[in-house]
Symmetry: C2
Subunit: 386 residues, 2 copies
């Protein structure tokens, strides 16, 4: 018995080690990317599931269309534009969380060894999804707004990737946001080189301050957009979606048919009920208020306990704060000590597919109270000074 | 922009054409594999979802473990044996339908070009799942009980496949069941050649008559077992599972993390409620009674309207009847005429990965009443005689 060769390359799950440690009730975890459970609209969702059972019980339990529930696709289409034009339902496929969107894109586009461009650093789950299809990941240099168009152009002169994957809003892990001019400049390079962009936007609605920018897909034609209800509603429901031109959507559906036939039918209908009740905007406001407070608490605790020992990027939205320890070399070396001190972070190295050594860490603030955040940062300061 | 090379090889979706035709309300479809919706236990499931919301609302909406809800894994473990020993929870991974089980196995085991052995004919969804990972499918000759051990052995002397995929109970599409002696003989060959077996068992509980045989995984050590609630409860919920040794389960989880992180958390808990209420055995009895009646109706209608024009295999369980038209060469040629006559089947060629021409067809009887079945077969007889 022999596993596929790509599995050896990815090695053992550090993530599982961290998740196991996180189960200790004394542990303060800044490692996950969990929404605050106390804000889950469980009662409203309960009503929505009830209504689906009462009005469409039998049909919601049957096999369904691979592309997703037609009315949910319709609703999602109405939320988007593609290159300035209204999006149609056939430009949407509903996915089992947006992690599945990443995996479907990889399977649909990548031959083994194909190049994918990513941000530096980039989302760990995207690295996993792409490596599962034997992609060769190449990192594009970034500044405080993300991908630098000139650097991208230099790379495109040497290599032809299948696509560039990026998170323009409150990037995971760096928390950065890309301004409007940068978006336009990036799209210009993409068009000149016939480059496909994969725009992942799980955090865009979680805006604490600053301007709201149009999505890349609103502005250009070469874009595949990934959306999800995991951060704005509930991740346990696993409802995400992809927006792209109909030919790409058809190919993604062809792949999805072999992968899981379709996503949970009942849940798609219940989410649609929630959306049709108009409950999402108010819920997002609540999330923004709470997460902003927690972001504040984390920034203050870092200033108080770590002060000049770290550089940090203060995020204007999303779930993560990215910090660099100035007096250590490798944040991986301190993981065991932080676990002993009952606090968890994700070492920055995991977000670099090139395997570099870094003293950066990703800190999540969305699922801890301000008090817990302060105590966690205090422990963190103790751990890195051992 | 260029899609992955495997997609070209699979060609356009004939399935989508049939599904589209099936939406016509005048159409009688024997093409799908749908459970009878009138028997879906929607009220019991509604209560189960309610209870989960009331007792575990917040936690059921949060991110969850990739391997599945711990108590559901525990429950499933208790239903199974592996090589005569009780199964533990860590030998279970919950999947997004058992279609995902097939896809995860392919991704976890197959390098491009690896050989997979399958039955002749075999399940279309398995062909799709394996081709999505560039498998080379090789068919093993079958008789009325499925895989012929001597033929398998002859093949194994020439080729080393990653695994053999088979459906021992009420096979899709042929409806055949493998007897106990055959199971033992097959496992003996597998052991001698260190061959991994993938045992897919969606229909085993839908037994109308005849003996119940132990699963291959009960009897041997070289087996990965795929189970699902799609046929015995509701496919729209997308809950399936895999049973295998812990090392294989860990590798499947590593793959699943990149594919969809985990399956719907809320739904897994609601299904567990349903199971804990002890409602499944009674529900399965109802299904068997209804499907047996419908199998009967289809056999009688075929005898009445098609008589000597077909050979058929009368299934003793499951959802499908496999028939061969004696007076035509290629059942694919009659698809357009049957659509004109408002009846649908799946042409047998789709179940042969070697692309052979056949006059066989797969007929589903589970989701039509006896009257509709009779009328459908009458139309079918008309269509093939045009």
């Amino acid at each position: 018995m022999q596993y596929a060769s790509w599995m050896e390359a990815t090695g053992e799950g550090f993530i599982s080690e961290i998740l196991k440690a996180a189960q200790d009730p004394n542990m303060i975890s800044f490692a996950g990317g969990l929404p605050a459970p106390e804000l889950f609209p469980d009662q409203a969702l309960q009503r929505c599931f009830q209504r689906v059972f009462e009005e469409q019980g039998k049909s919601s339990l049957q096999y369904a269309q691979t592309a997703g529930h037609p009315q949910l696709r319709q609703w999602l289409a109405q939320q988007h534009q593609r290159n300035g034009k209204p999006v149609e339902a056939e430009e949407i496929v509903v996915t089992t969380g947006s992690q599945q969107g990443l995996s479907l894109l990889a399977q649909t586009f990548l031959d083994p060894g194909d190049v994918v461009f990513v941000e530096t650093p980039t989302y760990l789950g995207a690295i996993q999804a792409f490596q599962g299809f034997r992609a060769q990941l190449m990192t594009i240099p970034c500044d405080e707004q993300g991908i630098i168009p000139e650097e991208l152009e230099t790379m495109l002169k040497q290599v032809t990737p299948k696509f560039l994957y990026l998170i323009p809003n409150y990037q995971n892990p760096s928390g950065k946001i890309m301004g409007l001019e940068r978006r336009i400049a990036l799209l210009k390079v993409a068009q000149a080189y016939d480059l496909l962009l994969v725009e992942d936007n799980p955090y865009g609605e979680l805006r604490f301050e600053g301007e709201r920018y149009p999505n890349l897909i609103d502005l250009g034609d070469q874009v595949i957009y990934l959306g999800t209800f995991s951060k704005v509603l509930a991740p346990g429901l696993r409802v995400g979606y992809v927006v792209a031109n109909p030919d790409i959507i058809n190919h993604l559906c062809q792949t999805k048919e072999g992968v899981d036939l379709h996503s949970n039918n009942l849940t798609q209908r219940a989410v649609l009920e929630f959306l049709n009740e108009g409950l999402l905007p108010g819920h997002i406001l609540k999330l923004c208020t709470l997460y902003k407070e927690r972001r504040e608490a984390m920034v203050q605790a870092i200033e108080k306990y770590l002060g000049d020992d770290v550089d940090m990027i203060i995020p204007s939205g999303g779930l993560f704060l990215w910090a660099r320890f100035k007096k250590i070399n490798n944040s991986f070396d301190y993981v065991q000590e932080t676990i002993r001190q009952n606090v968890l972070y994700v070492p920055g190295a995991l977000f670099y597919p090139d395997g570099r050594v870094t003293s950066e860490v990703r800190l999540n603030y969305s699922c801890s109270t301000p008090e817990t955040i302060e105590e966690g940062v205090r422990r963190l300061a103790r751990a890195v000074r051992v």
